[in-house]
């Protein structure tokens, strides 16, 4: 059973979203996603200041089995990325919601993330996918 913190929001492409002050959000990949990928060997995050478009790929997480794109849930600008992942990509496996965060984004005004699931909805989504 994967861990799904109730205070976060989720996407159907297995990213989590944490609301931060000042119209910023933090994103990463869920426990389900990190388990499916296996041990991460490499993470590529966008540089500070990069403009992101909702639904477009903005980062890559790579394991031995797969390389998966991470999709931005909003239009915005990258204000921080997790530099520790360059030498320790396994942080994403060990603490996907804490030390394994990927990017912090300053959301464009009037552009709240659409189609996010809450914890219950994401759990149901995972159950449906498993069928």
């Amino acid at each position: 059973m994967s861990d799904i913190p109730s205070d976060l929001k989720y996407t159907q492409s297995h990213e989590w979203v944490r609301a931060l002050p000042n119209d910023q959000i933090e994103i990463g990949i869920t426990d389900h996603a990190q388990a499916a990928l296996g041990d991460l060997v490499f993470v590529e995050v966008p540089e500070l200041g990069r403009r992101l478009t909702a639904g477009a790929a903005c980062a890559v997480v790579e394991s031995v089995k797969a390389a998966s794109d991470i999709y931005s849930p909003v239009d915005g600008t990258v204000v921080a990325n997790n530099a520790a992942l360059a030498s320790n990509p396994e942080l994403v496996n060990q603490a996907p919601y804490a030390g394994g965060w990927l990017i912090r984004i300053a959301v464009d005004s009037g552009n709240a993330a659409a189609n996010l699931l809450d914890a219950t909805q994401y759990e149901r989504f995972l159950a449906d996918e498993a069928q």
């Binding site: 060997v41 590529e44 790579e62 031995v64 089995k65 797969a66 390389a67």
Partner: protein
């Protein structure tokens, strides 16, 4: 039935287990309308003896003319152990090393190959090979587009003194991805790329510059100047190089000056055929690619890495496969699936047998023979050296008459005199690209000079209308 071991008893037993009456029943899911008639244009089977006879006749038809053609495929002596070992069943009939524990031979060999290519080119990392030199250049261009984040133009400058077929292949393969290739002209006197014509691109958004060393004419490029220009203008430098020449020429990893902590070419590629692979009508060869470690994830093709097994013993495995087609699918760096395993095996054995000293001797001997050839041929009235630049083992000669007829007459005497450049480079007039490697003897060169002398002794006027 050739290669099929089944006896009628086998077939009967197997059908019984399956629960079918005849083998044809196993095809009952195929709509009968689709089941084709007998193949009418495939001949009846030949025994091995009969095929051997046929192939011997075909081979004899073509014979073994004396070869002075280079132009991207070079005749070198191949030590006997190279193919004796490469055609061992354990190498010849092994598959791609996806099950690493059962493929340590192939994997370790590729690791050794990667190491040798890095040493030759003075670069940090190599892949396990690509199909050939031309397609390797196409892949290098695609890699440069991925790697050069600062550039969005997808403009790639290619020296006209580089192999024109390579440019055609790069266009065919990479042209569908919005890459624009533009030409940098060459100096008519010296035969090398015109560094001055790069000035026109100063400060413009250019993704990469392609330089071949030695170039298609056999002339040596001023690689330091060209590399420095690229570095200053944030243009990635793609070097197309001849591996034999790297035993004696400055390797691309050391081209140019140290600038911003970086030196040398950014991506190196080329044709590996000179390293122990026979001419074989153009293939199979292999393309090599080496680059900086920072671009390793942008590089296409397979890569072998060394690691440990669960008991701490060293072993080898394919790595970074997540970039490849079988995992990334539509997002892969390339669709490439094969590497040229067998020819890479031959090249690795070749490089091991020769070592740096042996390879340098091959390079120097080839250089010397080419000089001898040029001296002998330019002594003939009606033949002159076209370019003044320094050469490796090829040279362009200008004849006093159309090259095609001369070559045809030489071929009739069992001599392949070189490559006619008139169509590829009309501005050079009656130009002929000749090559001599360590395989040519003084007697061979004399034979060529003698024949050419006789042919050109016939005055132009008397030859009548062209």
């Amino acid at each position: 039935m050739p290669f099929i071991p089944h006896t009628p008893d086998d077939v009967a037993e197997m059908l019984a287990v399956i629960g079918a009456q005849r083998i044809e029943d196993l095809f009952d899911e195929i709509p009968s309308a689709l089941k084709s008639a007998v193949l009418s244009r495939v001949p009846q089977a030949l025994s091995e003896m009969e095929v051997g006879r046929l192939m011997s006749e075909r081979a004899a038809q073509d014979g073994r003319p004396l070869n002075f053609i280079g132009a991207g495929a070079y005749e070198h002596h191949i030590p006997a152990p190279v193919w004796a070992i490469a055609t061992r069943g354990e190498f010849y009939s092994a598959y791609t090393p996806y099950q690493a524990e059962a493929s340590q031979g192939t994997l370790q060999l590729i690791y050794e190959y990667q190491s040798m290519m890095c040493a030759l080119t003075a670069m940090e990392v190599s892949n396990a090979s690509l199909y050939d030199g031309a397609s390797a250049l196409a892949e290098a261009c695609l890699t440069a587009v991925r790697a050069n984040r600062a550039s969005t133009s997808r403009r790639i400058l290619v020296a006209r003194s580089a192999n024109p077929t390579y440019l055609k292949v790069a266009q065919a393969i990479a042209g569908n991805q919005n890459i624009r290739f533009e030409s940098v002209d060459f100096d008519r006197q010296r035969g090398d790329a015109l560094a001055a014509s790069l000035r026109a691109y100063d400060g413009e958004d250019v993704t990469a510059l392609v330089i071949q060393q030695p170039n298609f004419f056999g002339v040596l490029e001023e690689v330091d100047e060209l590399t420095d220009w690229a570095r200053t203008n944030k243009v990635l430098l793609i070097a197309v190089v001849n591996p034999t020449s790297l035993a004696v020429l400055k390797p691309p990893g050391l081209w140019g000056s140290l600038c911003d902590g970086k030196q040398g070419a950014d991506i190196v590629c080329g044709e590996g055929q000179p390293l122990g692979v026979p001419l074989s009508s153009g293939g199979p060869y292999f393309g090599f690619m080496t680059t900086r470690m920072q671009y390793v994830r942008q590089m296409p093709g397979r890569i072998v890495g060394r690691t440990l097994d669960m008991q701490g013993r060293p072993g080898f495995t394919l790595t970074l496969q997540a970039r490849e087609q079988h995992i990334r699918r539509a997002k892969a760096n390339s669709n490439i699936c094969t590497n040229q395993g067998l020819t890479v095996t031959a090249a690795t054995i070749y490089m091991t047998l020769l070592g740096a000293e042996g390879l340098a001797r091959v390079a120097e001997a080839s250089l010397a023979r080419c000089e001898e050839l040029v001296t002998a041929l330019t002594a003939i009235p009606g033949v002159r050296a076209t370019f003044s630049g320094h050469r490796f083992h090829e040279a362009v000669l200008t004849l006093d008459r159309p090259v095609a007829a001369v070559l045809a007459a030489l071929a009739a005497r069992g001599i392949l005199g070189g490559l006619d450049l008139e169509e590829r480079f009309p501005e050079l007039g009656h130009a002929l690209l000749v090559c001599a490697t360590e395989t040519k003897t003084t007697a061979d060169i004399a034979q060529y000079a003698q024949a050419l002398g006789e042919l050109l002794a016939v005055p132009l006027v008397a030859r009548g209308a062209a």
